[in-house]
């Protein structure tokens, strides 16, 4: 076990890969091992900045990561990419094609690129993504990009994984603008308007200014940084300087006003709660008595023998009284 840890810290590619497999695994032994490993790795944290990317399908998340990733790597940073690929199929298999859009950065010695099928898991985040980021951090990567599946309910979970949460949008869809509710701005640190090129250029810059003015209504508390808006073209590699500048600014400002560490602490609390919630539910379901009770109560609610809250109370009480 220690050996794997050492190999990861030494940055060995195959070891990192095996470790990620371990944290993604559904096998009991693997889960136990992965817990040990992660506990070890947390003790020797690196200095990675974790950046999350979310955005509707087809806005160019992968293409942006290819373009910006090349830019970052050319500046001699080490880049890890965790791509959650949405394309799961009705039989459970999937085709992970994201990497075909990241062929340049894939080749580079200073990158580590891993795709994972989302399997429709909640939050656009696959099992083990948080842990995979811990592994890459310990292995000495400077940036860790996490590409998540689309947008929707997923912001909270995805945003809770990263230091900078990026929302990528396309030129000129009014629908997306309506999506800017107060909620989203609390999670997104930066909006990237992609496809600022060719026929789409004028629409893209219009979209960017629309976002800017829309966002100005929702400023966060005064000393926090306002949400950034940057125009880019991933296919023409335009705007990458500005993106890096914005990222640096976000990191610097957040560090200066203690937001950076505070956010990580809050995230820890979030994941701890998640872990506890999941484990309790798992336990509840795995025990015969309570799992049967669960099923029975559902049926009783349906036929009107009991109410929703009463049923919930019965289940929780039974579960707790057993302990």
């Amino acid at each position: 076990m220690m050996k794997l840890r050492d190999r990861i810290i030494a940055g060995e590619r195959a070891a990192i890969a095996k470790a990620i497999t371990l944290v993604e695994s559904s096998r009991e032994e693997d889960i136990i091992q992965s817990h040990e490993l992660i506990s070890e790795l947390i003790k020797s944290p690196g200095h990675a900045i974790r950046v999350g990317f979310s955005g509707p399908p087809g806005v160019g998340k992968s293409t942006f990561i290819e373009s910006f990733g090349s830019y970052i790597v050319n500046k001699n940073f080490k880049l890890g990419v965790l791509a959650i690929d949405p394309s799961s199929n009705f039989t459970g298999g999937s085709i992970l094609g994201d990497k075909t859009r990241m062929s340049e950065i894939s080749k580079n010695e200073n990158t580590f690129i891993r795709s994972t099928p989302s399997r429709g898991s909640l939050g656009g985040i696959a099992v083990g993504t948080r842990e995979a980021a811990i592994i890459l951090d310990a292995a000495g990567y400077d940036y860790i990009f996490i590409e998540t599946v689309g947008v929707g309910q997923s912001e909270i979970t995805a945003a809770n994984l990263v230091d900078i949460f990026t929302l990528i949008v396309g030129p000129g869809s009014g629908d997306e603008l309506q999506g800017i509710k107060k909620g989203i701005t609390e999670y997104a640190d930066i909006f990237i308007v992609n496809k600022n090129d060719g026929d789409l250029a004028s629409q893209a810059s219009k979209t960017a200014s629309d976002y800017k003015s829309a966002l100005s209504f929702y400023n966060k508390d005064s000393d926090a940084l306002e949400t950034q808006v940057v125009l880019v073209s991933s296919i023409e590699n335009k705007g990458m300087d500005e993106v890096l500048d914005s990222y640096n600014k976000i990191v610097n400002v957040n560090k200066a006003n203690n937001q950076f560490d505070k956010r990580r602490e809050n995230q820890l609390a979030y994941w701890l709660e998640e872990e506890v919630r999941n484990k309790i539910l798992l336990k509840l379901r795995s025990e015969k008595e309570t799992s049967e009770l669960l099923e029975r109560e559902v049926r009783r609610i349906i036929v009107g023998e009991t109410g929703f809250y009463a049923a919930s109370k019965v289940i929780i009480d039974r579960f707790l009284s057993k302990k």
Binding site: S26, D30, N89, F90, T91, L96, T100, R101, I113
Partner: protein, 715 residues
Amino acid sequence: MKKDKSKRLSDWEKKFSKEVKIETSKEFFHETDEGININPLYTQEDLLDYTFNDIQTLPGEWPYTRGPKASMYTNRPWTIRQYAGFSTAEESNKFYRKNLEAGQMGLSVAFDLPTHRGYDSDDELVMGDVGKAGVAIDSVEDMKILFDGIPLDKMSVSMTMNGAVLPVLAAFIVAGEEQGLDRKVLSGTIQNDILKEFMVRNTYIYPPEPSMRLVADIIAYTAKEMPKFNSISISGYHMQEAGANNVQELAFTLADGMEYVRAALSKGLAVDDFAPRLSFFFAIGTDFFMEIAKLRAARTLWAKIMQDFGATNEKSLTLRTHCQTSGVSLTEKDPYNNIVRTSYEALSAVLGGTQSLHTNSFDEAIALPTEFSSRIARNTQLILQNETGVTNTVDPLAGSYFVEKLTEDICSAAWKIIEEVEELGGMTKAVAAGMPKLSIEESATKKQAKIDSGKQVVVGVNKFKNPKEPKIDVLVIDNEKVREDQITKISTLKKDRDDKILKGHLNKITEAAKDNTGNLLALSIEAMRARGTVGEVSKALEDAFGRHYATNVGVSGVYGKFFEKDEKFMDIQNKINIFEKEKGRRPRVLIVKMGQDGHDRGAKIVATSFADLGFDIDMGPLFQSPKDVAKDAIENDVHAIGVSTLAAGHKTLVPELMKSLNAIDKNNKIVVFVGGVIPEQDYQFLYDNNISAIFGPGTSILDSAEKVIELISKK
């Protein structure tokens, strides 16, 4: 006493129903891949007043359904034009000259993949590909050797070149010059059809928009300077080979044609100035009558399309085409059957009225043809021309109730797709949106499912197997030697030229490309004359345009649908579920294409089908190096790598991959297997390199999946 027509029909109907034991013949039709229903009987009643096909017309008469010319083969038979090229210019030249002596009438050059993709033979990137799948041409010097002793003013030359079309066409023109010939007398065809490269053929270099400019520049230049040269060969052939059905092939090809016409018009040409020099290229598969009707439909629709563009010159209105029998219909198993298949296909092409024809060799699914197999392929046409009498009458199937109706059915089905494409804004836009590619891949996947499920019979493959497979001779190319020869030639060339002059020409190309000024073919001729290489001119253009990288979106669920409740399919799914329980994740397989081999049909079909079965499939991009693949495989911790290789690079690329894997992780347990065109002679070589399994053409995907899950479960 004669019965009246309707009585006779209903009598036939009764007899028919009795014989086949069904209620009515209406229930009894065959649905083709195109979704066209073929009835058991056609009668005069089917010769209606059609929308497209006017059955009264004559050959050489609008809309040319019956042929572009009045006399057709009665005056001059079709041109036997065999597509060939291998290793060096010297070898190919020898081969051409021999064939011309043996009765072949036109030349057709097959270039190797580095040339196609604009790389010189000395480029590291293309180590495994030089001279393998065609002839390596790096400069004017090679081009001169290629046509040595072949008078370019008498022999029409067809060149399949699309990506690196500028330097290659330029080299051809300069080679003619140096034979003492004005370019005005050069006759032949350059393929120059870039849209289908993005769809199916994959030897593009630059992104779609600048690529369209190259096409337009060539049309503009040749319209003025080379009156006997066909500036483009609008090709559906590759679409059918990639899996398109006949209606898709026809519709996308004609829609491509419309797009090229618009591109040329945008250069300020008048339609009749260039349209007579547009030519076409179709595949002829095994569906005998469908193929005949397709060619008749193609001429009919093109006449209509060109009339709408305002063409008045008859040559602009008539579609002239080359055809090639289908390679994908030919099998590795029991290969002599292929001679028979090719003969039927050739007959189909001729009955459809093609202007020239290539017939494939029986070793098609194994390697490039040998001298023996090429001779049989050529003789198939010589026999057809000289012994069967098919040349004695024009369009002999006209008036056939069935063929006329089918011609109309294809016209209207294709027209529907053309309208869809136009709605998307034409083919460039449709291609950028991925519409044609995806629909062709869907069709290809269905085809595979039909064969694997036995719904479509392929003799010797899924039925009537030969228990004693014959051994056949295979052409072997010593790629190392070819590469060394080419490298020597390049370094001599570079020593003897004036670099400064060349640099000036190359800079002009880059500038003209950037500023959208000048004619890029004219400028490329200058550069090639100054002894630039194909790679250098391509690079000069790349500096302005960038390189194009395709993204892979595939179909999903298409294969699986054919196997609902199929026992074997469910059994494999079950094995995969057990694997997942035991190992904590699904079996994960990386499917890759390495080197310049752009045959992606097999890889994509296998990927989507494996995913339908429950595998997690990582799909690599085209043109990966073995080193990139190894990194990808290790990082994603895949259980297996499936290498799909069809262009004969396997003996270089596969060992290279194994080396790269071990370099990253010498303890890796990744199972590596290989699929595609691999001559049996090479099997042992691959096994010796730790390849666990080899899946050749005709493999049932279910069989290969079963083997793969078995192999990785053991590790």
